[in-house]
């Protein structure tokens, strides 16, 4: 696995740090939202938007863009921050997240927010939507890729496996699914509630090319993405830490057990400011 050039590593680390602070502030201001499971995808989001995805903030509907479907829609603060910081809309919008009339809804709405390629919220649906987009792009002869970022808990939804079967059947090699394997769902540990393992073998059996990665290591994600093979959809099982970057949230079982108080937000921001979230 190749190490990233120093400048690139620093750039991505800075982007991730920016997103992390935004996520904590947004959820702090809104006093609601899924903080821990938004934090687990921050590094993936920084990697996608600062390195991987072909996008155009001047023309969010640019035909040749790569698409991202955030299947775990509740993690949208990380996506909103990435989009704002990449110039899709003003950072001021971030502080209206979840408010009445706001552009930034509690779960992403495509038509309402520039840069959002598909709406999501009800779990288990992003992969199928990404399938449809990937199939459509292929029909048009487009070179664009479709990324689907899914949670691990939502793999318990049956629709995911219909879609997994379908993506392989249609040989959608322009589709990349990234699983945020933070091992936690609302009520506890995924494996204890409804086991999804062996994930690797499951996706392989469904006809996918499977690669595991460290979801907080940009080189590892880079390497995983480079492993795609023609004729197969690629799934990157990205091992992540719930609440990543904020010590007292890391490994926490429940998003909702953490009451979003002013103190908590100040403490988290203090930690992030002092660089406590170093990778």
């Amino acid at each position: 696995m190749k190490k990233l050039p120093k400048e690139e590593q620093v750039l991505l680390e800075e982007a991730a740090a920016l997103i992390r602070k935004d996520v904590v502030r947004m959820i702090g201001v809104a006093r609601s939202g899924h903080m821990a499971s938004s934090l687990s995808i921050v590094d993936i989001m920084a990697w996608l938007y600062w390195k991987v995805l072909k996008t155009n903030s001047e023309n969010p509907n640019w035909e040749e863009r790569d698409r991202l479907v955030l299947s775990k829609g509740h993690g949208c603060p990380a996506l909103y921050s990435a989009l704002a910081n990449r110039g899709f809309f003003s950072r001021d919008e971030l502080w209206n997240y979840r408010r009445l009339g706001a552009m930034l809804q509690g779960h992403p709405l495509a038509k309402r927010t520039p840069g959002i390629d598909a709406s999501s919220g009800s779990l288990g649906m992003g992969l199928g939507v990404a399938n449809g987009i990937a199939l459509g792009l292929r029909l048009r002869g487009s070179q664009s890729r479709v990324f689907c970022l899914a949670g691990d808990g939502e793999l318990q939804e049956g629709a995911i496996w219909e879609s997994a079967m379908s993506a392989a059947h249609y040989q959608l090699d322009n589709l990349i699914m990234i699983i945020d394997r933070n091992e936690v769902q609302m009520e506890g540990i995924v494996e204890k509630i409804l086991s999804i393992e062996p994930l690797n073998a499951k996706f392989q059996a469904f006809g996918w090319h499977v690669v595991c990665a460290d979801g907080h290591d940009f080189s590892s994600l880079d390497y995983a993405l480079s492993c795609g093979v023609p004729g197969k959809p690629l799934v990157i099982i990205a091992k992540t830490v719930i609440g990543k970057g904020v010590s007292f949230l890391e490994g926490q079982l429940l998003d909702r057990s953490v009451v979003i108080t002013r103190d908590l937000v100040d403490k988290a921001l203090g930690e992030l400011d002092s660089g406590g979230m170093k990778l």
């Binding site: 698409r67 479907v69 709405l109 495509a110 038509k111 390629d117 598909a118 709406s119 999501s120 919220g121 009800s122 649906m125 992969l127 199928g128 939507v129 990404a130 399938n131 449809g132 987009i133 990937a134 199939l135 459509g136 792009l137 029909l139 048009r140 049956g158 629709a159 219909e162 879609s163 079967m165 379908s166 059947h169």
Partner: protein, 317 residues
């Protein structure tokens, strides 16, 4: 009438697709492994890479349709009403209705006249489920020609539309070159002054039969084909009830949530007048021949006649 051959509304889907495929480069047709009898020939005529049988996986079928729509394709997706609406309701709600994607949902096999397959396959709740989704157009054509025109017209609409088709063969009510159908439209098939009969689908035929019987009893009924259940042809219905003072609604659907509820709510809000319903009352279907089931569940002209007579006596003078 240029044709007299009896065909089902479902039969119109394949031929309509063939015409649409010639008109639109961006047409994609998705099916859940139930299309074969209805439009296999049509599928053959479509470019092979524009027709996808997504298998027995309705959730993914709807999600894929949403994705194709996001990739700017004109998507028609079909299955039996019970599986299309029932199995994939959350998917329809989240990925088509909430974002307002212009996917066209085509349900073959609506209602009890599906026949022998029984309750699981006889969808009587679909209109209720679909019409409550904000922005969802709901169309229930009553003959082959109107089904053909509505399917073709739906391709132009920049919003999601649900079209309920049926299995029984029905006489034609409209000419084959009649294009005067629109979302939100209705057609007065017989003018009358004493009772308004609103119907959709197969019940339009029963309503016309009932109007003849009522005429023999000196009750002059107006029959409106309310093929657009959502939005309703509200002005047309209210104008008619202004003249007649009462209304019967007939539909091959549950009493709750269908065309009857929609019209009752409209009438109640805009011009209170007595309304009676001919529909399936709080029951699921069962196996049987279509005609037997129609009789058993009271979806007949004689039920409309008796409802019309009753509602007429209830009107205010």
């Amino acid at each position: 009438m240029t044709e007299t051959l009896n065909k089902s509304t479902r039969d119109a889907y394949g031929p309509a697709l063939v015409e649409l495929a010639a008109l639109y480069d961006d047409l994609v047709v998705i099916d859940g492994d139930v299309g074969a009898p209805a439009f296999k020939d049509a599928a053959r005529n479509l470019r092979s890479n524009r027709y996808f049988n997504m298998g027995i996986a309705e959730q993914n079928m709807i999600l894929t349709s949403a994705g194709l729509s996001l990739a700017n394709f004109r998507v028609f997706v079909s299955s039996l009403a019970s599986f299309l609406v029932g199995r994939a309701y959350d998917e329809i709600r989240e990925t088509i209705a909430i974002p307002g994607l212009p996917v066209k949902l085509i349900a073959s096999y609506g209602g009890v006249t599906v026949g022998e397959d029984g309750a699981t396959h006889q969808m009587l709740e679909d209109i209720a489920l679909m019409r409550v989704l904000p922005g969802m157009g709901v169309l229930v054509p009553s003959d082959y020609n109107s089904a053909f025109a509505l399917i073709k017209g739906a391709a132009e609409l920049n919003r999601p539309v649900y079209i309920r088709l049926g299995r029984p063969e029905l006489p034609l009510l409209y000419d084959n070159d009649d294009a005067n159908f629109s979302l939100g439209g209705g057609r007065v098939l017989k003018e009358g002054t004493e009772v308004t009969i609103c119907a959709c689908g197969i019940m339009v035929h029963e309503a016309l039969k009932a109007a003849k019987i009522l005429a023999q009893q000196d009750l002059c009924a107006e029959v409106i084909d309310c093929y657009s259940v959502n939005p309703l042809p509200a002005q047309q219905i209210l104008e008619s009830i202004h003249r007649t003072g009462c209304c019967v609604v007939a539909e091959e659907h549950l009493l709750h949530g269908g065309l009857g509820d929609a019209i009752a709510s409209l009438v109640c809000r805009s011009y209170p007048a007595p309304v009676k319903f001919v529909a399936v009352d709080n029951k699921f279907g069962q196996s049987g021949r279509a005609e037997e089931l129609q009789e058993y569940y009271g979806l007949t002209s004689s039920q409309i006649v008796s409802a019309a007579v009753q509602v007429w006596t209830m009107r205010r003078r």
